[in-house]
């Protein structure tokens, strides 16, 4: 355990923790649009920047992204200095210029008193804030089906060759993790479509309840050793089967006792 001071309070943290985790645990509201616990910290949005110093630094301070900065014994952290707040305002202002219609960014910006961007709106802007959560979660899950393409201001998230991604199994993690709901998909229970790729949905053999895509189930069977027959039923039917099995066992045990 290490102890450090955050906004004047002495706190304890585990050695390998990042500052942001400790800050969030304390209930301090530090925005971080590219952060998600499922993926490695990335440091792209820069909103979680905080000021750090140490007693022996003689008043010298520096700014670090808390999502990437490991806790240190004796560190003194300030999460809301005027300079940091000003930085967050500018960043949100910039994000709003790119994604003026994204509710998520609108709300965050409003918290920092920005109702509309003071910059020129980016002509080809959209709701994608390029946090790369989608590509990173796809990497993390092992599919690596989508990636960022191009660079700089023309960067975007896309499937390879802008065609249906061969490695995608239609798990929807990218769409689920997207903070601005920019990644679109359709799902009618029979067919799911995402990134222009169509997937057949597995259904409960008895109730017809759709579960996950066949491609995803096959992946889990092949790489994670989940028996194929587990996917034959939906969760509801599985529970009923469980009840029936346990019921039989209970009856049998009662008979044994009698």
């Amino acid at each position: 355990m290490v102890s450090l001071t955050i906004n004047g309070k002495l706190v304890q943290a585990k050695e390998d923790e990042m500052l942001l985790a400790v800050i969030q645990r304390m209930g301090i509201d530090v925005p971080a649009t590219c952060h998600h616990k499922a993926v490695e910290p990335f440091g792209a949005c820069r909103l979680c920047t905080v000021e750090i110093t140490r007693p022996e630094w003689d008043g010298w301070t520096k700014h670090v992204t808390s999502c990437l900065y490991p806790v240190e014994e004796g560190l003194v952290v300030s999460t809301h200095t005027p300079q940091v707040i000003e930085l967050r305002k500018t960043i949100l202002d910039l994000q709003l210029a790119r994604s003026p219609k994204a509710r998520y960014i609108q709300d965050l910006a409003a918290q920092y008193g920005i109702m509309r961007t003071s910059f020129e709106e980016v002509p080809d802007g959209n709701d994608c804030i390029l946090c790369a959560l989608c590509t990173r979660v796809c990497d993390e899950m092992g599919f690596r089906a989508i990636s960022t393409v191009n660079r700089g201001h023309g960067k975007e998230v896309a499937p390879p060759l802008h065609e249906a991604p061969p490695d995608c199994v239609g798990c929807l993690a990218c769409a689920q993790i997207c903070p601005t709901n920019f990644i679109k998909y359709t799902d009618n229970g029979d067919i799911r479509t995402i990134w222009d790729k169509t997937f057949e949905m597995l259904k409960c053999e008895q109730t017809g309840q759709p579960t996950i895509t066949r491609a995803f189930a096959e992946y889990l069977t092949k790489h994670r050793g989940i028996p194929e027959n587990y996917f034959k039923l939906g969760d509801l039917k599985h529970r009923h089967e469980t009840a029936a099995t346990m019921g039989r066992v209970a009856l049998w045990e009662r008979q044994e006792k009698v």
Binding site: T135, R144, I146, S147, V149, N150, P159, P160, D167
Partner: protein, 151 residues
């Protein structure tokens, strides 16, 4: 445009089959075909065991790579700082006018591709234009037409 992809395995085999070789192999392919055909990206991904998304990401990140075929002559106008202040913009303007294409485009007859490049490192001879691998230094507007004519 159709290509003979039979040379692809040979190009790929020039480098060790590890993810590190990705950029080197893409460069070989770019040199051979003057662009990166989809087929080549897929074969590279397969050979190196790298996801196609990573190959595509690299192919679009770096300036050298192009997903569209380039012309026979690739004319690059250096717009490095030294060239810029010695009038590279004017040279670019003239070339765009003569070729009827903008920087980054290829003429319809596939003869010319016009590009701008950040710096070719021949700053002492600014402004510089390269035609394929050949450097032309101290280019002035009156020399631009001549550049297109000679090989």
């Amino acid at each position: 445009m159709t290509h003979d992809f039979s040379r692809l395995p040979e190009l790929i085999d020039r480098h060790p089959r590890s993810p590190e070789s990705l950029i080197m192999i893409l460069q070989e392919i770019q040199r051979e075909y003057r662009y990166l055909p989809c087929e080549a990206l897929m074969q590279t991904a397969y050979a190196l065991g790298v996801p196609l998304s990573r190959v595509f990401s690299a192919a679009t990140f770096y300036n050298v790579f192009s997903l569209n075929p380039k012309g026979e002559k690739v004319i690059r106008v250096c717009v490095g700082t030294a060239c810029h202040i010695r009038g590279a913009a004017l040279i670019q303007d003239q070339l765009e006018n003569l070729l009827h294409i903008k920087a980054g485009e290829t003429s319809e007859d596939m003869k010319y591709t016009l590009e701008v490049v950040a710096c070719v490192g021949a700053c002492a001879m600014a402004p510089v234009v390269t035609v394929n691998e050949k450097y032309h230094g101290s280019v002035n507007p009156s020399r631009v037409k001549k550049l297109l004519k000679d090989k």
